[in-house]
């Protein structure tokens, strides 16, 4: 399973944000995408997942050779793509538990086993409760999440750390083949960061996941070790290297990238 991005150009409300991004994320490999604020990192994340706000004007996104461009976000999710969001939205009145149950059932194709007439209904295709509950309990223990948390409404009133943990819990249940982590370290204190990172590392090993870790700071990369590091600037990847690139960036900052670009022109 490979996520392949070819010469991707994206506009938002008429303004070009991504200006030709090319990148290949293989299974089992961790890529870090580092860049300053406003460079278009989150646009890349949302575009890959299919947010309708982002218009692709040129380029291609392939998952195992199949184009994602015409697919809705749910189709992409069912094919094994996952996006851990920087700002997960709240949905009032919907418990985390019922949401996880519905989402897990959807991604695992329980809907496909019911007659066509039952499609599109919330509850016509749920994973057997006992089976789900058992798996969920294991994941809760693994991520050290209090089961009482499940009865709260989805992301409503969650602290930054709770939101991120809930995102990783979703990832653990949906078992993606390629996951994009958008600023997962933001809003996490050091203990929460360690816990979430360890969770991600174990999952990656278990699932042989491809990872694209999008981050502004190198902090999370102290816990999730990248195989490949990309420096993102002004809508495109301007440098690619190994983990050492993280240290260079840490020492010299993004100014170094900007100057490098100017010098090269």
């Amino acid at each position: 399973m490979t996520l392949e991005i070819r010469d991707l150009h994206v506009t938002v409300e008429g303004k070009e944000i991504l200006k030709g991004v090319s990148l290949v994320v293989e299974r089992g490999v961790t890529h870090a995408l580092m860049g300053p604020n406003g460079s278009g990192k989150s646009t890349l994340a949302y575009t890959l997942m299919g947010h309708p706000k982002y218009q692709i004007t040129r380029g291609e996104i392939l998952l195992d050779g199949a184009s994602l461009l015409e697919m809705t976000p749910d189709q992409r999710a069912r094919r094994g793509l996952f996006l851990a969001m920087q700002y997960p939205v709240a949905v009032s009145g919907v418990t985390l538990y019922s949401f996880l149950h519905a989402a897990t059932s959807a991604v695992r194709g329980y809907g496909d086993r019911t007659p066509a007439a039952a499609r599109g209904r919330l509850n016509a295709h749920l994973m057997p409760m006992r089976e789900f509950r058992q798996e969920l309990n294991e994941r809760l223990a693994f991520l050290q999440i209090d089961p009482a948390f499940l009865q709260r409404y989805l992301n409503e009133g969650f602290s930054g750390g709770e939101k991120k943990r809930a995102e990783i819990l979703q990832m653990a249940l949906l078992k993606p083949k390629v996951a994009i982590l958008d600023e997962t370290d933001s809003g996490l204190d050091i203990d929460a960061l360690r816990l979430v990172s360890e969770g991600i590392n174990v999952l990656q090993k278990d699932l042989d996941m491809g990872l694209l870790v999008i981050t502004h700071y190198q902090r999370i990369l102290n816990y999730i070790y990248p195989d490949v590091v990309h420096v993102f600037y002004d809508g495109r990847i301007v440098k690619t290297g190994d983990a050492k690139l993280v240290d260079v960036l840490e020492e010299q900052g993004y100014e170094w990238v900007r100057q490098g670009l100017t010098a090269g022109d």
């Binding site: 749910d74 519905a102 959807a106 919330l122 949906l174």
Partner: protein, 487 residues
Amino acid sequence: MGEAGADGWGLGEPPETDMTSQHEELRGIKDRDEYDFRTEIDYAHKSRRGIGEDVVREISALKNEPQWMLDFRLKALDAFLDMPMPTWGVDLGTLDFEQFYYFMRATPTKQRSWDDVPAAIKDTFEKLGIPEAERKYLAGVETQMDSESVYSSLKAEWEAHGIIFVDMDSAVRDHSELVQAHISKAVPVRDNKFAALNSAFWSGGSFVYVPAGVNVEIPLQAYFRINAQSLGQFERTIIIAEEGSNVHYIEGCTAPQYTEAALHTGVIEIFVKKGAHARYTTIQNWSRNVYNLVTQRAIVDEDGLMEWVDGNLGSGVTMKYPAVVLRGPRARGEVLSIAFAGDDQHYDAGAKAIHLAPDTSSMITSKSISKGNGRSGFRGLVRVVHGAERAQSKVVCDALLLDRESRSDTYPYIDASEDNVRIEHEATVSKISEDQLFYLMSRGLSEAQASAIIINGFLEPFVKELPMEYAVELNRLVQLQMEGSVG
């Protein structure tokens, strides 16, 4: 509500909060056809179409009513003919009173035992799941097919406590003094044109009396169903909760589809005595050709609590404003309602809280959803009279619009003649946000599923107040409303 309406229209939990467990039960999902069956019944008696003194006399005679009730009806008929149609709210321009039958009797005599109920009627109720519901949850069942109850029962344990739960016709016969002392005391005959109509032609409905200090632990249930074509259904219900008692009454309504319109004009009067607690829950799923024009009002004495829980999903047009009249000090009233207006449906619903005594409080929560060209309006009145010091009221209405054509209107009216009061009003109108949809869809849920989840979440504060079986039923009805609109 405009001047005409200000007084005229009397404006008149599931065991766990886990939604999914309810949904588990819904695997064998039903569709609207299930409610749209019609049972062929030989009507034992049917009035002529239209309004008239002859029809009133005929109804009263067929029921062997005492003279006072006939007089009451005739006086109400005069009031009805005299009063103007409301010119606000929904469009009643197509409502032709002459097109309806005002009385039909399904069986010659009322049945007491389920085994005696004719097969066709039994079949209807079996389809609606009434007997199982009774076995599982309910203390008593009072089901109404068209004009009269065909089956009623009340568990022996409640009878032992002196609780009366009978159809209104029996009450007029067997508890004449109690009925006479309460009928039209909360909703006067001239309160509005439809209350007058009901008073003249009423047929069926329930009478509930809970003696002082008695706590009715399990909800009493009535299930109304309009079966015949072009039938006016005018149930009249009176609930009396004596001092310190506690009662929960639930009403569910369905009607099959017909090309001709049907009229449902109920009047519900509730008397909550000192320190008593009454709750009245309605889930209304009339078919789209029903005019649903209902007056519900409760009079609450000191330290009493009245709760109206009102779900509207059916009917073509609905005008309904459950009211609490807080008559005694520290009386409390709550109205919690939802409305889901789909294509061609128009609701003008709301609530009314009248504070007549000091330290009274009211809470009105309204949630509405509009889809397609559906319109859902909220009309709320909070009135505080002089002397009702320290009265408190809070009105919250949230509207969710599912698409561009749908519409929601809010008409709050506040009328306070006392300075030392606290009245709050909050209103929100929202749409299903693109970001919420994207978030849920990025987790593998189809657009239809994601929308349904968001809507269920919006309704959750209402659903969690319902008994389990009603919560399940409501979720199912919401899904039926959703179909064809998304995904």
